[in-house]
Symmetry: none
Subunit: 256 residues, 2 copies
DNA sequence: CGCTATTTGTGCGTATGTATC
DNA sequence: GGATACATACGCACAAATAGC
């Protein structure tokens, strides 16, 4: 009998946790095969010398991790030897995922048609000699006077006829694209890194040269994988931090 | 037993489900305020005329949806009126979302029991005078010789008996906790910001003082919202960047 | 500071309902 | 129908954490 170790320990941990661990161990060891059935509750109760209540609590632990599937009248089937956990960014809208689009305003001055040279294409990760509509500006939080970021936006020239781009923007540019061209953002790829703020940018942000800054580069992709826009944001270290919350997504409990 | 109420009800739904729905309704209606406490279990048992077992099953339903947080000796606090939305999400495994856990190794030397002073508690975002088991070390990528990060880990003292913590770690500490204590990470909150690397840390990382660095602070939460572990990673700017891809996903409406 | 009351956590026993084979 | 197995539900007792006196 292998399960005896768990039950005999007076153990700092609750009994049902020990039993659960023993069961998981037994599954990993192959004593209970994936796809096979676990012994019935009462039999397990006897093996581990615990009450049915405690055993069910232990089994529930396995269930929470998606290791087993239970069906009344049938039994408890082993589904996997290891939890297949999926963590997700929980958010209601895309702007919750990209923290600072909300309650901020972007002030832009002019848009310029450009062609990416070698330096730019490596910096923003696009093909060489790619055409873009370039807009730059400052992003302000709430009623703040100091900008929270220096922003560059590279818009796919397919949308060069875009309206309301210059001035004070309270909605993201991709929203303008969606509204005016019906093209929806399906994927956002972002890179976050640290960098020293160069003299020119430092001056515009009113910080000292050499200060640390956070650089966030985002590619917004449409439904067919086309890059709709690229944004580059440079944040002074003390004016911004990037927060996110990843939640474990558990597939809904099996309905009968 | 005399014919119990449970037996007399043909019950379209189990009793604990009905009770859970009623409780959720009461929260939505504002009878129980968000941030406030629910009545104690026994009181609710009396109100609904159910056993404590049934009531706990009902309460567990609310807990699974993240609507409440329970603390022994305190009570059941209402956290939200609606389950956290799973509307827009980026699906990925945890090691995809937390890029560097894979293919890296963490080298630790010793663990120390500490109590958070004012400075530390604000730095890592915990309560003052909170106890922690502190471990620090270096994280290396692949076969690299230079560390990609300076890492500090603060472990909930409930897990101070944790094994295999010192040396070269190829799995995350939360995996150790999960394996050894059966406590699962349900949510990860992370903050990313930029900072200048201080002299002491610069030396240990073999970079020049004043270089820009990326600081990633993560709180790993268990099923009851308890903080299992906090990690602080300091990355030299040129040795690390944080990549992520957020996909738009439309889930099937749960509506159990 | 220790004590007590409160509240949730853990654990046991038992009985009955219901789906599956 | 009968046997099996999980699901639901009642009861009780004590442990552990917390808050307040």
């Amino acid at each position: 009998m292998s399960g005896s170790t768990a039950a005999s320990l007076p153990a700092s941990q609750p009994r049902y946790v020990l039993v659960a661990q023993a069961l998981i161990q037994d599954i990993e060891n192959g004593r209970y095969a994936v796809g096979g059935l676990l012994p019935p509750e009462l039999e397990l109760c006897a093996q581990f010398s615990v009450s049915r209540h405690t055993m069910r609590e232990a089994i529930r632990k396995l269930q929470e991790q998606g290791l087993i599937v239970r069906r009344r009248g049938v039994g408890t089937r082993v589904k996997a030897a290891r939890p297949a956990s999926r963590y997700v960014l929980s958010a209601a809208t895309i702007s919750d995922l990209l923290p600072y689009v909300k309650d901020t305003r972007l002030v832009t001055s002019k848009a310029t048609a450009i062609i990416a040279d070698a330096a730019l294409s490596t910096r923003i990760g696009c093909k060489h000699s790619q055409r873009w509509l370039r807009v730059s500006g400052f992003r302000f939080a709430g009623t703040g006077k100091l900008p929270m970021a220096l922003t560059e936006i590279y818009i796919n020239p397919a949308f060069s006829g875009i309206q309301w781009l210059i001035g004070t923007l309270k909605v993201p540019v991709y929203t303008l694209i969606e509204q005016q061209f019906g093209e929806r953002v399906v994927e956002v790829r972002q890179e976050i890194r640290a960098a020293k703020i160069a003299a020119k940018d430092a001056k515009r942000l009113s910080v000292e040269t050499g200060t640390a800054g956070l650089v966030i580069t985002r590619h917004y992709l449409g439904s067919n994988g086309r890059v709709l826009e690229i944004t580059v944001n440079l944040h002074p270290a003390d004016r911004f931090s990037y927060l996110s919350s990843l939640r474990l997504h558990v597939p809904a409990t099996p309905l009968e």
